[in-house]
Symmetry: C2
Subunit: 245 residues, 2 copies
Amino acid sequence: MEAFSNRRTIRKYKQEDIPAEKLESLFFRASRAATMGNMQLYSVVVTRSEEKKEALSPLHFGQPMVKGAPVVLTFCADFNRFTKWCDLRHADAGYDNFLSFVNAASDTLLYVQAFCTLAEAEGYGTCYLGTTLYNPQGIIDLLKLPKLTFPIATITVGVPDEQPEQPDRLPHLAYIHDETYHDYTPNQLDIIYYVKEQLEENKKYVEINKKENLAQVFTDCRYTRKDNEAMSAGLLQALKCQGFL
Amino acid sequence: MEAFSNRRTIRKYKQEDIPAEKLESLFFRASRAATMGNMQLYSVVVTRSEEKKEALSPLHFGQPMVKGAPVVLTFCADFNRFTKWCDLRHADAGYDNFLSFVNAASDTLLYVQAFCTLAEAEGYGTCYLGTTLYNPQGIIDLLKLPKLTFPIATITVGVPDEQPEQPDRLPHLAYIHDETYHDYTPNQLDIIYYVKEQLEENKKYVEINKKENLAQVFTDCRYTRKDNEAMSAGLLQALKCQGFL
């Protein structure tokens, strides 16, 4: 597990396929992650075809990993399979609600991380696309996701063709709390974000975007209130359509 | 990573503490998991005191791991720290919405799984308590979680004092879909759930609960519609109180 400390997100991949058996072995081994009541409330849609990558690409805002990776994986919360089994057995499945969505999404994300850790231990590189939640309805339509399923995370996987710098992380005491949550004083925040704010790369972003500081790059350029609010509405609407609200 | 295939949930722990430096090292190494925009949208509240374990116990429905483990960890989605930093820098933080909750919860769950994998690789045993989402407001109050934070997962950790049987898992083709989601036929469901339904242990649950089959044990005893709907309402209410809805 030493390797985990050296991991970095990989966005550029060699033109080299991942054998189906290799992928299946990773899928199976990852399923040892914890899962609620051993229900395994997830599904994975595997995209290998150029046609589907082409169609997925704009839904992920054109991020080049989607077309550049040999394999794109859409990990979905899935209460459809379990509910269909219950229906078949004349059992009253009550999983068309918000708690069930969060339970299935939790199962899915634990599975995603287990998959990535295992894949990276075998020398593959992965990239987590958070954009999955930005336009879920488009992904639902394209991948034909039925009710009681929901796309949670997309991972691109391949043999690394780059070795980027490892990004900074906060000092761990920044997010560890003893017995109860201890809220942050301005002085503590100055310390916690000091390294991040001093990075040359981040200073450049501030300059390019003509902002006063790094926080404003996040709030005004990267993750704006307007976008977040619009996408929250779309996310809730999609949850309704998929039967979870 | 061979060890991952042999993992099992551990619910019984030796009376042996986890050194603080060991725990901190795990916290730090786990932070290499993917995180949205490198924001690290999580916090962990560490419970070691008997008093707090006593208080947490009923919130987790008296599951004995809470009082039996040397350490109980409550992993929380956290947009409070980032927002406070933005406020301090006069940046307009727009993270009091549903998308931001799901983003922070995603970060948190990837971090949880990375932590567990690393802890288990060092010989510790972990148990994931899904009950965190059943009564979030109680946990919020006890751990003094401020607005824009939310408890997502609780993990008990310790040196294993049991070696339980490894539970079954579905055949992996049950949840892998090629290019688009392929919905399940009754025949496929019979095959997928065959092993689970034939397990002696599960047959006993059906008998004890006087049900016709295993699916009904899930729907009528373990995870009922009535409970799910009541807890969904509580979960949404707590999300509102914490400023995410």
